[in-house]
Amino acid sequence: MVSVNNPRSSFRFLVVDDSEFARRNMNKILTSVGGESAGFAVNGREAIEQYLKLKPDLVIMDVTMPEMEGVEAVQGIIGHDSSAKIVMVSSNGYQEMIKSALDSGAKHFLTKPVEPKQVASVVDFVLGDC
C-alpha cells in the first residue's frame, strides 16, 4: 500500500501518536520517502522529551492524545527550538482545528487517512527540498 519512490536527502523523523497503527503506518510512509526513524512518542509530554533528546529533522504530531495534546506539545517544542519542523495530523480536519495547529507553530497539517504521495509532498515543502 505504501510505495512512493521519490529520492530525496535523508532526514530523521519522530512520530508522535497514541495509536500503534498510526505510528506504524506513518513510519512506513516516511521510510519509503527516504526518512529514517529517530524514535516515537505516544503523548505530548513524551514528544517534548524525545524531541530535546533526539533532535529530529521532522516531527509528525497527532492532535488528540492522552496526558498532553498535540497543540500544547508543539508549543512546548517551539518554546525550546523555534526552528522545529512539525507537521500535525488528525482525523479531524475542520478549519478551526487547522488554524489552532498552525497558530501553535506547526508548519503543516495533514488529515487522516494520510496518502503517501501527500506526505511526500508535505515533507518536501516543510524540509525545503524543493
Binding site: 497503527f21 498510526a22 506504524r24 488528525s90 479531524n92 478549519q95 478551526e96 487522516k112 487517512p113
Partner: protein
C-alpha cells in the same frame, strides 16, 4: 433526530472505507432502528458532544474486523489483539472525524470522544430515548454497520 446530522456520518464512513480498503464500498438502505442495538462481534463506539449529543457505533463481525485490520496493516491478523483493536479504533476515529469536520465547517460545534472498542457476540448498547438510524456498508471483507443515535439540542 435531524437527518443532516446523520448523513455526514454515513457518507464519511463510506469515503474513508473506500480510501483504506480495496474494492467498492456499497451503502445499503437506511433503517430506523430501536434505541437498543444488538452488537455482533466487534463494535467501535464514539461519543459526540456539543450542538448534537449522542453516539456513533461501527459494528462488524469478528471475521470482518480481522480482515479489515489485516488489509490496513498489510499483514494478516488472526486474533483480536492490541493492534487489531487499535487499527479499528483509528478507523472509527477517521470516519467520525471527517463527519464532524464537515459539520463543524458548516457552523456546528461538535466534539468526538476517543473510540471505545467492545468485542463479543452478545453486546447490547443502550441509548435511552434516542432513535437510531443504521446503514450497512458492504465491503469486500463483509458488512460494517454504521449506527447513529443523536439528539439535537
Amino acid at each position: 433526530m435531524r437527518y443532516d446530522y446523520v448523513q455526514p456520518f454515513v457518507s464519511s464512513a463510506q469515503e474513508i472505507l473506500a480510501q483504506v480498503l480495496s474494492g467498492r464500498i456499497a451503502a445499503g438502505r437506511v433503517q430506523l432502528s430501536p434505541a437498543r442495538s444488538p452488537g455482533d462481534g466487534v463494535t467501535a463506539i464514539v461519543g459526540v458532544t456539543g450542538d448534537g449529543q449522542g453516539r456513533v457505533l461501527f459494528e462488524m463481525s469478528r471475521q470482518t474486523a480481522l480482515a479489515i485490520a489485516g488489509e490496513m496493516n498489510d499483514e494478516p491478523q488472526a486474533e483480536l489483539g492490541t493492534l487489531v483493536r487499535d487499527t479499528l479504533s483509528e478507523l472509527a476515529s477517521m470516519m467520525t472525524g471527517r463527519a464532524v469536520s464537515l459539520l463543524n465547517d458548516k457552523g456546528y460545534k461538535l466534539r468526538v470522544s476517543p473510540p471505545t472498542m467492545v468485542a463479543g457476540d452478545k453486546v447490547m448498547v443502550s441509548t435511552a430515548e434516542l432513535e437510531t438510524l443504521t446503514v450497512p456498508l458492504e465491503t469486500t471483507h463483509g458488512e460494517v454497520i454504521v449506527n447513529v443515535a443523536m439528539a439535537t439540542l
